[in-house]
């Protein structure tokens, strides 16, 4: 029983990471109706920056953490302005190719700078945070960090004028322009936030999977599955989907299909949702009267 409970709780911890990355995907999807395939590599790149700040520059973990989040934010904004903006009105396929190019470039540039050798990335959480046999300190810490990120994001989008403007720009760009919102910049900010959330996910997952340029590949797959389960246009759905996928993956891996086939869970979920219920569990059913 203890082992089972441990599997569930550990699933919630990795689920939090999937939820964060899924949320980043949803943020970009909501304003562009495209899934950013490079989201994982952007997170991985940011995590390497954190590693460099800690190990090469000798910074304390949390200083490096916040600096990395800030870096990722700026990086996201710049990527949108410089790389995505020029193909804004191009066909979907063209943009997808740009996303994939970004993925490959980030992956190889990171490998070129930091080599492909796996690096350890220490967990910042103190031993006392753990819950005995049920949860490791890092698992508890990951859940806490995820929750803080979620609360901050919710407060930002719900209660600040800028958050409102970003929601308006994503929903109805034409009307947003007519009230004076600079829609292009809102998009860029959205990329910034998505990249920052991704960076947090990267830093949380690195102590578990070790740091290497391909570390986000499978995480991104789980995040896709999470976003799809929840409904790709629904941030709450993405969060719920993240936790659900995390727990499912762990339990199926431990008791049903074995550890080696775990990644198949993500693929089965993706294919399953797309064929059975493409809008996901909480995909928006919009009520409009005319």
């Amino acid at each position: 029983m203890d082992a089972f409970l441990h599997q569930i709780l550990a699933g919630l911890a990795t689920g939090g990471i999937y939820a964060s990355l899924a949320l980043a995907l949803v943020m970009i999807y909501q304003s562009t109706h495209l899934v950013n395939f490079a989201q994982g590599e952007m997170a991985m790149f940011a995590t390497y920056i954190a590693w460099a700040l800690i190990n090469a520059a000798g910074m304390p973990y949390w200083a490096a953490f916040f600096l990395t989040v800030a870096f990722a934010f700026v990086f996201g904004v710049v990527v949108e302005r410089v790389i995505i903006r020029p193909v804004e009105s191009a066909s979907v396929l063209a943009v997808v190719v740009v996303f994939i190019a970004l993925l490959v470039i980030l992956n190889s540039v990171t490998g070129w700078i930091f080599t492909y050798t796996m690096k350890t990335f220490d967990s910042p959480f103190p031993k006392g945070l753990g819950l005995g046999v049920y949860m490791s300190p890092h698992e508890v810490g990951t859940i806490l960090v995820t929750l803080v990120v979620l609360v901050l994001l919710y407060a930002f989008f719900r209660y600040t004028p800028l958050g409102l403007a970003m929601r308006a720009a994503a929903q109805n760009p034409d009307s947003a322009r007519l009230v004076g919102i600079r829609v292009g910049w809102m998009l860029a900010l959205g990329w910034g936030f998505a990249a920052a959330i991704g960076a947090v996910a990267g830093m949380m997952v690195a102590p578990i999977v070790y740091l290497d340029p391909n570390m986000m590949g499978s995480v991104l797959l789980y995040a896709f599955a999470a976003a799809l389960v929840g409904g790709i246009d629904n941030p709450w759905g993405a969060v719920f989907g993240g936790f659900l996928v995390g727990v499912l993956e762990n339990i199926l891996g431990a008791y049903v299909i074995g550890h080696e086939l775990k990644l198949a869970v993500a693929l089965v979920i993706i294919v399953g949702v797309l064929t059975v219920k493409p809008s996901g569990l909480f995909g928006k059913v919009l009520v409009t009267r005319v």
Binding site: P161, L164, A165, R167, A168, Q171, N172, D174, S175, A176, R177, L178, V179, G180, I181, R182, V183, K284, L286, V287, T288, R289, V290
Partner: protein
């Protein structure tokens, strides 16, 4: 100096040219209407004024050239556009829609007061304050669109078919409120309408547009008396 003037304004969507050199002007504090049949280019004219379509020609607002500027910059000069189809942010609440109307304003401290002012004109919106705007009725959404524009404290409002799809009684109410906004707050209005009779009662000046050109202009009374306008647009 006219508040707004367009000179030889051309506009096109992709390869189709819609405006073929429209010229008109309006004085501060007045209501002017653009009349015309479906497809005459009325909506495009309003969109051209706010930089939402590619244009050639000259547009001046308070003596300054505004053609070629970005929509969001034109809005900041005090031009509020109530678009065709109302442009409601359907997933946001009524109040959020209204607050967005004041987004471009610098005097944020007056926004609360203006919310009450707008609720004074449209008490129904106050009841619907926390409701998702997409669930409002057509008339309520039109009121919301006008209110959102008022939240900018505009100098000029561009109204695209405010009567569209509304019951006659609601149209009457809405036009009454537009008139009192114009009288009390000196907000100038450029109204595009298919309902020529209503528009000519509201406006002081009118321009008749046919296939992208101004074919007739004058005071509302002159236009009302014009025989061909009477037959084609007023229907008696």
């Amino acid at each position: 100096m006219p508040l707004l003037a367009a000179k030889d304004l051309h506009a096109s969507y992709a390869l189709t040219r819609v405006l073929h050199g429209i010229s008109f002007s309006m004085e501060p504090g007045t209501i002017t209407t653009l009349l015309g049949a479906n497809g005459a280019g009325k909506t495009t004219t309003l969109r051209a004024l706010c930089g939402m379509v590619k244009t050639q020609g000259e547009v001046t607002f308070e003596g300054r050239r505004i053609d070629g500027r970005a929509t969001e910059d034109i809005v900041r000069l005090g031009i509020a556009h109530v678009p065709d189809g109302r442009g409601t942010f359907v997933n946001l609440t009524t109040e959020e829609n209204l607050r967005l109307g004041a987004y471009a304003r610098k005097d944020k401290e007056n926004v609360e007061g203006d919310l009450e002012r707008v609720f004074g004109y449209f008490p129904r919106l106050k009841e619907r304050r926390a409701q998702q705007a997409g669930t409002l009725s057509g008339g309520e959404q039109q009121m919301l669109a006008v209110s959102r524009a008022l939240m900018l404290r505009p100098k000029l409002m561009l109204l695209d078919e405010p009567s569209f799809g509304l019951a006659p009684l609601i149209v009457k109410e809405l036009f009454g409120i537009l008139r009192s906004v114009n009288e009390k707050e000196r907000v100038s209005m450029l109204v595009v309408e298919q309902n020529a009779a209503m528009a000519l009662d509201l406006a002081e000046h009118a321009y008749l547009i046919e296939t992208g050109r101004v074919v007739l202009s004058g005071t509302a009374d002159e236009i009302k008396k014009n025989d061909s306008v009477r037959r084609s647009y007023l229907g008696y």
